[in-house]
């Protein structure tokens, strides 16, 4: 039986981590873009648009991410579309991230005092201008901590894509475990690498949150 060194194991895992990072970035940025559109729909004046956004968000927040991945991967394939694992993974994560970010940002927009809407309206601004020049800038500040906090969930979410065959850190963990029969060590390292990716993001979110509350108290 081949003897595997710790470095062999670690090297394989670290190489796969690149894909975790890449998928996380694509999902977060893509999800942010779609989420922003969803946000505008969710707070739109048109009832039908609001309803669409509301049900979209409830659907993606009320069902398991794993199921969404399965549907993206297996389901779409049945329509004759050949869906590679990375595409299914990316699309599913983007749509999932969008739902959560839209909800987080909606909370932030709604936390901007109603008086700001009234003041900007009485200055003659249209809805889009109000959002762009008055509301969003203020909502942005409040939005940073929870958005950074959610990025942690995105990184952890990429682990599920291993189940549909996308080769990232968790998949590498499974493959290496099957080769080395050292699940304790391998999954231990996998956990450590995820921790190294996630913990700085978690901590930043906490620090930003604290700074924000200090700022609020000084008003």
């Amino acid at each position: 039986m081949i003897e595997f060194t710790v470095w062999d194991i670690l090297r394989n895992l670290l190489l796969a981590t690149r894909w975790t990072i890449l998928l996380s970035l694509v999902s977060f940025i893509g999800g942010g873009a779609v989420g922003l559109m969803l946000l505008f729909l969710r707070i739109s004046k048109r009832k039908s648009l609001r309803a669409f956004a509301k049900y979209y968000i409830e659907l993606f927040q009320g069902t398991p991410l794993l199921m969404q991945l399965f549907i993206a991967f297996f389901g779409l394939g049945l329509f004759g579309v050949d869906v590679p694992a990375w595409l299914a993974a990316g699309l599913a994560l983007i749509f999932w991230t969008a739902a959560f970010l839209a909800e987080i940002w909606r909370g932030c927009v709604e936390s901007v005092a109603k008086g700001q809407w009234e003041a900007s309206a009485s200055l003659g601004m249209g809805w889009l201008q109000q959002m762009r020049y008055v509301i969003l800038p203020q909502a942005l500040k409040v939005a940073v901590p929870p958005t950074v906090g959610f990025s942690v969930q995105v990184v952890k979410g990429t682990a599920l894509t291993s189940i549909i065959g996308f080769v990232e850190l968790s998949k590498a963990g499974t493959v290496v475990t099957n080769a080395t029969f050292q699940p304790f060590t391998v999954y231990g390292f996998v956990a450590l690498i995820y921790f190294t990716l996630c913990w700085p993001l978690s901590k930043s979110s906490q620090i930003l949150e604290r700074k924000l509350n200090v700022a609020h108290r000084n008003h």
Partner: protein, 223 residues
Amino acid sequence: MSYHFEFGWLLQYYPQIVKGILITIELIAIGGVLGISLGTFCAWVRALGPAWLKPVIAAYVELIRNTPFLIQLFFIFFGLPSLGLQLNELTAANLAMIVNLGAYSCEIIRAGIQATPKGQFEAGASLAMTPFETFRHVVLVPSLQRMWPALSSQVVIVMLGSSVVSQIAAEDLTFAANFIQSRTFRAFEAYIVSTAIYLALAILLRQVLSVVGGLIFQRRLTR
């Protein structure tokens, strides 16, 4: 479109689906109760407990919150046997869920404890109650009440996350869906139906938790 949708044949897999639903419910029932209990203990330690225990709990919480549930599950099911601890898939699944919800609910409940007005602690102390008696009789229930919506959300999140236990062959709803898909290659129907059931379970769970909250907490909190 060359695919022909049919849902009727799913009925023959009714037993697997029902078993899957029951296992999923059992997992969140046990996981929910024990997870929140663990979280309450950990929250007490972090907010009010002995100094030497705080870093231990802090390490546990940070570790769980910064690693994927899938990996926690794999570590418990595949990794622990090398330490001599062999668990069957349902026990491992339950344990993973309890450990996971424990960490998240710890932080939620801790926020609730720390939002308790200082006067409550002082009133308890001035009535000659020990710090633990004050926690148990005065602080705990209002803290839980304060955070009940956030706690409920987290329980639903963990229930949806339980779909991952299918990967260690625990026979939950996702396992049933995969089973059906692998037998019939009718992925879309199998997954759509199970996703719809998950959605229904999530909505139902929210309702149940709301009712439970109403039963435990008699008065609305003003602070």
